[in-house]
């Protein structure tokens, strides 16, 4: 299994990355997933159990994984460039803040899920990680958990693979707390982002999905409760850029 190689790699070069790190990709691909107990606050509680959202569309849970996969297949080529264009480079600051909060040191066993364009990686499913229990000191997921079909399962998996004392850190788009910023952010999201997607990447629909999926994600408080439901303690969150993104943190104690 590639994991020991990743651990070796990570314990060697733990400090000073400025980019998202490798880890598992392609969440939610399994279509024949046996139904486990749902978390106390599943996102789809308002809808029938087999349906969920894909942006503002309603789709079956089986479909969602495949549709998300297609989105990321489509955006992969220009992923970093589009992130820079859409956030004017600010996404790098957000990710730096996440790393600063983490304060990794040589020897830290870190797992970064939905790693994007990172270094060495392991292919897997965030809802069923190919790692044993109690393996990692830190689990991070940056702009990934929003796309997982069953967020509660991903959180449970995060809890499982962390060592006791381990830390869960999630950087994700969240709800804006300032009405003026919120208005500007909405205009920018819905009017500009899909246009950027079309002009730069020739792909309107993936970026439309992106801004819609942000609106569908639970608020800071709701997500905090979901993390607590997965067994994490001392769960806190910190807003960045008026709540456009938030870093949630929890510990497995």
């Amino acid at each position: 299994m590639a994991a020991p190689r990743i651990w070796g790699l990570w314990s060697f070069c733990c400090r000073g990355w400025s980019r998202v790190l490798p880890g598992c990709r392609l969440p939610g691909l399994r279509s024949s997933w046996p139904r486990g107990p749902l978390g106390a606050r599943p996102l789809s509680q308002e809808k029938r159990a087999t349906e969920t959202h894909f942006g503002f569309e309603t789709v079956s849970e089986e479909e969602k994984g495949g549709k998300v996969y297609q989105v990321f297949e489509s955006v992969a080529k220009k992923y970093d460039m589009m992130n820079d264009m859409m956030s004017l480079g600010i996404h790098r600051i957000w990710k730096d803040l996440l790393l600063w909060k983490m304060r990794p040191f040589p020897g830290t066993q870190l797992l970064d899920v939905a790693g994007g364009t990172g270094l060495a990686w392991v292919l897997g499913d965030a809802e069923e990680l190919p790692f044993d229990d109690d393996k990692f000191d830190v689990y991070t997921i940056a702009f990934g958990i929003r796309n997982v079909t069953h967020i509660d399962r991903a959180l449970q998996e995060a809890h499982r693979v962390l060592k006791p004392g381990g830390r869960f850190l999630c950087l994700e788009f969240s709800q804006v707390n300032n009405p003026l910023v919120s208005r500007l952010y909405d205009v920018y999201s819905f009017q500009v982002i899909p246009v950027l997607g079309e002009v730069i990447a020739g792909d309107w629909k993936s970026y439309q999905y992106l801004v819609e999926s942000i609106r569908q994600f639970p608020s800071q408080e709701e997500f905090k409760e979901m993390i607590e439901d997965a067994g994490f303690q001392k769960v806190t969150y910190e807003n960045l850029t008026s709540g456009i993104v938030a870093i949630h943190s929890g510990f497995k104690l």
Binding site: F56, D186, F190, Q191, V192, V195, L196, E198, V199, K205
Partner: protein, 265 residues
């Protein structure tokens, strides 16, 4: 330049009088059955159309291989002109039939075997020869997405699919010189802002010699023929495959080009 800008801006101004949803209302809320006018439709606000027009124009100049950007530019700036074209088609008996029956020129609708068996010099045979020699396919035309009317979206699609017919009629290859000549013809015939912009900005990349030939011979010829010919969108090409190309050119008052333009580089 100012008149050009006005030509581009005029269609945009027309939008302001219609009631549009507030800027932050997510448009996709309408796109699940209720707001889509045709399968490929992406509804857009006036602001989005303006941003798309500007962005696609810039990107098309920056990266000439982004043909999709030229298509987007056409769709976001052509609304008023498409209406004029549609009305013109309605008034013509053959054009009205096209609007009614909505024929499409694509590999799935063309009977290539039949076209190949047609006599030399016929429209169908020459069109096929054009596709083979220039190594193009009718299926590379992007579907219309940003036009907010199903009928006008068809008119735009028809214009795109007829483009290759024009190459055949005018005897122009698909290299940059040939494309510019066809764009001038289309600009005069259709008045689409995207054609006008393409006709004016396309020559920027040409060598001095080509530019000289273009300006002194080819453009005047194209413009003259475009003014004389009836609207090329009113031709039901699919019913004219057997017609000799020479006869069709005569019918449209299209003369031979003043010089032979070399095939694709």
């Amino acid at each position: 330049m100012r008149t050009l800008l006005r030509g581009v801006l005029r269609p945009l101004r027309a939008f302001r009088s219609r009631p549009w949803p507030a800027a932050d209302v997510p448009l996709r809320a309408t796109s699940h059955g209720t707001g889509l006018l045709y399968p490929e439709h992406i509804p857009t606000t006036p602001l989005q159309k303006a941003l798309l027009a500007a962005g696609s124009a810039g990107m098309a100049l920056y990266d000439p291989y982004r043909h999709d950007m030229v298509a987007v530019l056409g769709e976001t700036t052509g609304c008023r002109t498409l209406k004029v074209l549609r009305d013109q088609m309605r008034r013509d008996p053959e054009g009205a039939q096209i609007l009614q029956e909505r024929p499409r020129i694509s590999l799935s609708t063309l009977d290539l075997g039949k076209l190949r068996s047609l006599p030399e010099g016929s429209l169908g045979r020459e069109y096929l020869r054009f596709l083979d020699v220039n190594r193009v396919s009718p299926d590379t035309r992007a579907p219309t997405r940003f036009v907010d009317s199903e009928e006008l979206a068809y008119v735009m699609q028809r214009y795109r699919e007829v483009h290759d017919m024009l190459h055949t009629l005018l005897g122009m290859p698909t290299n940059i010189l040939g494309e510019i000549v066809v764009k001038w013809f289309e600009a005069v015939q259709t008045g689409l802002p995207m054609c006008i912009l393409g006709a004016l900005f396309g020559p920027i990349q040409l060598s001095a010699r080509n530019l000289q030939v273009l300006v002194s011979k080819l453009i005047p010829w194209a413009v003259q023929n475009a003014r004389r010919a009836p609207c090329v969108l009113n031709l039901y090409y699919e019913r004219r495959w057997e017609q000799p190309l020479k006869a069709l050119r005569q019918e449209l008052s299209i003369t031979e080009p003043p010089m032979h333009v070399q095939g694709p580089a």
